[in-house]
Amino acid sequence: MSEALEVVLRSVGVLAAFLVLPLLVGQAEHKVMAHMQGRLGPMYAGGFHGWAQLVADGVKFVQKEDITPTAADRGVFRFAPAVALVPYLVALAVIPLTPSVVGADVPASALFVLAVTAVGILGTLMAGWASANKYSLLGAMRAAAQLLSYELPLVLAVASVCLAAGSLSLSGIAQAWTPWWLLWQAPGAVVFLVAAVAELQRPPFDMPVADAEIVFGAYTEYTGLRFAFFLLAEYAGIVVMALLFAVLYLGGWQGPFADQLGWLWTLLKGLVIAVLVIWLRVAWPRLREDQLQHLAWLVLVPLALAQLALTGVWVVVAA
């Protein structure tokens, strides 16, 4: 009985984090991007500096008509947003804020997170294919090509950290973290960050949704709540990747008063990374499709392999 209650409580907690943190990141994006462009951003919704803008957006999306194109593959089309969204919810469940504050403590959680987040791309592929729209299909193909290219450096970078910590568990990795990693794992961290931004299809890697070229890629035909789910998936993805970066490369809950404020440290480090991801979007233009592949295969993969070799050598020498 108490076990069932604990499962329910943990699920509710993860769901609450899943619904609140992406909105926080979205609001931060609104305001940070606006001020980086000399604007104010939303100012009205909710009264104080437009804090409820995304809530208002959500209400608007709910009110919109849910359109399924006649030529669309109806079932797949309607199911795709869920496929894009749920993997990030599952991934969020295993990311620890502290060793105790975690939805589900899975032994090989690093592997689990990577595997689950890779499923999200299927939602984009399904959406693009089922829309029966050239732009959607082009966007989906671009997304697939991008995911294939960047999954490898991402996995290699995480493998390097796992090797350094001697653990596949996120909690174990963060426990093994020392400030020395900031230097030792720096190339891997850069590779991870770049690959994560590319996986999220965020600028400068937003060719799958390049509005000037292919309208809105795989999401062109979506309206209302289903469209909002894709947007929520993007911001949930930022949360997952930022927290993952904080746990893998920044020591997660390690910091002053880690016993009491460990969860706050993880969240703060994740927030810094999320703001960095937003900052990159504001500052940099979109890459071309061939430049994207060039960067992945000729820069990131060799760099990640070099990092793996460096980590391996150091672990063997130090042991």
Partner: protein
């Protein structure tokens, strides 16, 4: 090959990326440029062409504005009124009475020619701009409405230093003309003449 030449001309990819980050970060620290318009009144320069205001008292219904208007958006109706002579045997005077003065702001292109040609300063630019309507036909404004904008007309800008006096002030400062046949007031020249004449009477007394 082309990539390497590009890199040489643009100074490389990394400095460019860092510059982009630095620029956005600097802008983040600076105050924003947003003008929160409905909450804060906009700062408009004095010569803003918002709306055309009518000073009805100055209008003589001469029709110059209506005739010069490139898109014929000024409507004027007037009639002549006879003012009987105040003195018996005098000539009766006629004057124009303005019945209707309307500007259709759905046609107006804000060229300001009507204001330029008005010889009696009856038309003025006002910076007021919040007079949108839901129906385009409601943009035809009659003289009452045009007159209501008169208080919003800013005073004319100050003259440049060293420029000639405005005609009105020069005219007001000029000594008043002496009406022919009337007693000479004490202006400088006539006072001098008086002095020359005055010594004569005492001379007469001595005689």
């Amino acid at each position: 090959m082309t990539g390497s030449t590009n890199r040489r001309t643009s100074g490389g990819a990394i400095p460019g990326l860092l510059k982009g980050l630095a620029t956005t970060a600097k802008t983040l620290g600076r105050p924003t440029h947003t003008a929160e318009y409905p909450d804060a009144p906009p700062h408009l320069p004095p010569r803003t062409r918002g709306v055309i205001a009518l000073l009805e008292e100055n209008c003589t219904s001469c029709m110059l504005c209506a005739r010069e208007c490139p898109d014929w958006c000024i409507y004027i109706d007037s009639h002549k009124e006879t003012i009987p002579s105040p003195t018996p045997g005098g000539r009766d005077r006629q004057r124009n009475v303005l019945d209707r003065f309307a500007i259709d702001f759905s046609l107006c292109m804000y060229c300001g020619i009507c204001i330029e040609v008005c010889p009696f300063d009856a038309l003025h630019w006002s910076p007021e701009f919040e007079y949108s309507e839901l129906d385009i036909r409601d943009l035809l404004h009659e003289k009452d409405r045009l007159g209501q904008w008169m208080p919003t007309v800013p005073p004319p800008p100050a003259l440049d230093p060293g420029s000639a006096e405005p005609a009105e002030i020069a005219a007001a400062n000029k000594p008043p003309r002496v009406p022919r046949g009337a007693d000479a007031p004490t202006t400088a020249r006539s006072a001098g003449g008086d002095r020359r004449e005055r010594p004569a009477p005492p001379g007469k007394d001595e005689q």
